[in-house]
């Protein structure tokens, strides 16, 4: 029997993540991949694509609508079930933990679909890690800006050099067992409340 290539539909409002999933699928040799960001008119698209596997992010508020469509709509010619193998609790948990869900046309064999789901899970996790790291970098930049402002306030009000101002902040943070960014933020807030308007 000749195996026809599986048609995979990725529904994700996050374009970057969708691109990462799509790239992963193509690298794994899947050529019939469609990505949809907006669910408007999705019934017609599903009727056209006739997907074997549908990958959806769990943040999507349209999941209830999509599930109902998979079960009832005339647009979906073949019944679609969630996940491949309901008895495989570990892989279902991994998917939900990663924030992704997969719907699969009934009758597809487990070994054909499992790699797709595994890939989606690992790419979702990689994306989350990346987003977290980005957030950390952003937070670091933010705190560096606040430290600069706090230094400025100290230099102006106490007549300190930049280095002395930083040392004072660092010492205070160590003494209070807090982050230097937090100390700087407190100082900036307090200066805003108490002092004359700060010149930007």
């Amino acid at each position: 029997m000749v195996r026809t290539a599986l048609a995979v539909l990725v529904i994700d409002e996050n374009r970057i993540r969708a691109a990462i999933i799509e790239a992963g699928l193509r690298e794994a040799g899947h050529e019939r991949v469609t990505v949809i960001h907006d669910v408007t008119g999705i019934a017609r698209r599903i009727a056209e694509i006739e997907p074997d596997v549908i990958v959806i992010d769990l943040e999507n508020p349209n999941r209830d609508m999509l599930e109902n469509m998979f079960q009832l709509s005339r647009a979906v010619k073949r019944p679609i079930a969630m996940f491949v193998d309901r008895s495989d609790q570990a892989s279902i948990e991994a998917a939900v933990d990663a924030g992704v869900s997969a719907y699969v046309v009934d009758g597809l064999r487990q070994e054909r679909v499992k790699p797709i789901l595994d890939m989606a899970v690992s790419r979702f996790n990689a994306f989350s890690r990346m987003a977290r790291e980005l957030e950390e970098v952003r937070g670091e930049l933010e705190s560096r800006k606040v430290i600069d402002r706090a230094k400025g306030i100290l230099m102006k009000s106490r007549g300190l050099s930049e280095e002395a101002a930083y040392t004072l902040l660092r010492k205070t943070a160590m003494n209070q067992n807090r982050k230097i960014g937090d100390i700087a933020q407190s100082l900036v807030t307090a200066a805003g409340l108490l002092g004359p308007p700060e010149d930007e």
Binding site: L58, N60, P61, D64, V96
Partner: protein, 414 residues
Amino acid sequence: MSMTAAHQITAGFMPLFDSAVLVAAGELGFAAREGIDLTLHRETSWANIRDRIAIGHFHLAHMLGPMPLACNLGLTPLASETIVPFSLGLGGNCVTVSNTVWAGMVAHGAEADLDPARAGAALRALIRERAAAGGDPLRFAVVHPHSGHNYELRYWLAACGIDPAREIEIVIVPPPFMADALATGRIDGYCAGEPWNSAAVAAGTGHIVTVKARIWRNSPEKVIGVRKAWADENPEALAALLRALHHSARWCQDPANRGELAAVMAQAGFLGLPPAVQMPILTGHLRLGGGAERTIDDFFLPFDKAANFPWKSHALWFYTQMVRWGHVAHTPENLAIARNCYRPDLYRSALKPLGVALPGANSKVEGALQVATAVGATGAGLVLGPDGFFDGQIFDPDEVDAYITGQKSARAEA
């Protein structure tokens, strides 16, 4: 606090006003006072809540009343056995239509009085007129197939001689998107909880034509669905939570607390909508569109009228509607599953130490009370009803077969 609490409980909820009793239990200290460290997780779909209950991320969650039944009856892609020991309130939904549909209904005798029979008759005339002219069927939206919204919308239409399976189309739309879908013409009407109806009225794009409290007064809506495996292993934690929810619900019902409750719900992590938008559900005073206003008795009850009691008759009514609309086959096994899903016994045993009024029965004949009635119960001061269906029908939970057969033949004749 989390180090010393006797019970750690994780609960999911959807950003809807009727999660208020659960949210207030966590935010205002009712749970902590019962020795519970309650962690609340906001979710984006009912499917997510179902999945996270199924794999054990959540011990319990804010759920649509029929949802635990659907899980236990095997109607959902993923499920674990779910029980209902507490109801989060009665009422709270409306049916809203587009300005075009409303104009058509007015031409056929509808008035801005929320009367379900009058509105239904006008809608029926409009639907027949459109069909005769070869127009597309009207498209209505509900929030989920296994929801009070879907079943009360269908009940109302069917009782007005409209076949919801053939004469209209019913689609699923998430509640926050309803008003927008109506404004852009993707749907012609919808049944959803507040504030999503008032939102369309405020935008000038919709009219509220009737409300849940007028279709079936004091009828069930959201519940606390609990993963049964967890409930079986943690009876003390569950009982403590039910007591916390009881105190929270009593507090939520008190008009003196409306402002504070609305402020809590307004936070971004909960409902995330300004307090003013929450006032219609809190007061029962609704703007219907076109300048009309109405105050609805028992519009939404988070506590009064035994609102938190998980009546088996409520679960069984949902079951009859699942059968009626082809969601599940009526078999003795399925009926038994529906009968065992709501657990008034757990509610009663948890609240007994508080000495509060508790219903003596697990079921009641729905639609039998024409006026508010003090009922025989343990403790003092329990008032139930009125609980009538707008079409005067009675649902006797001991006569499920007859009720199902009666609805089937009524449809065949229509």
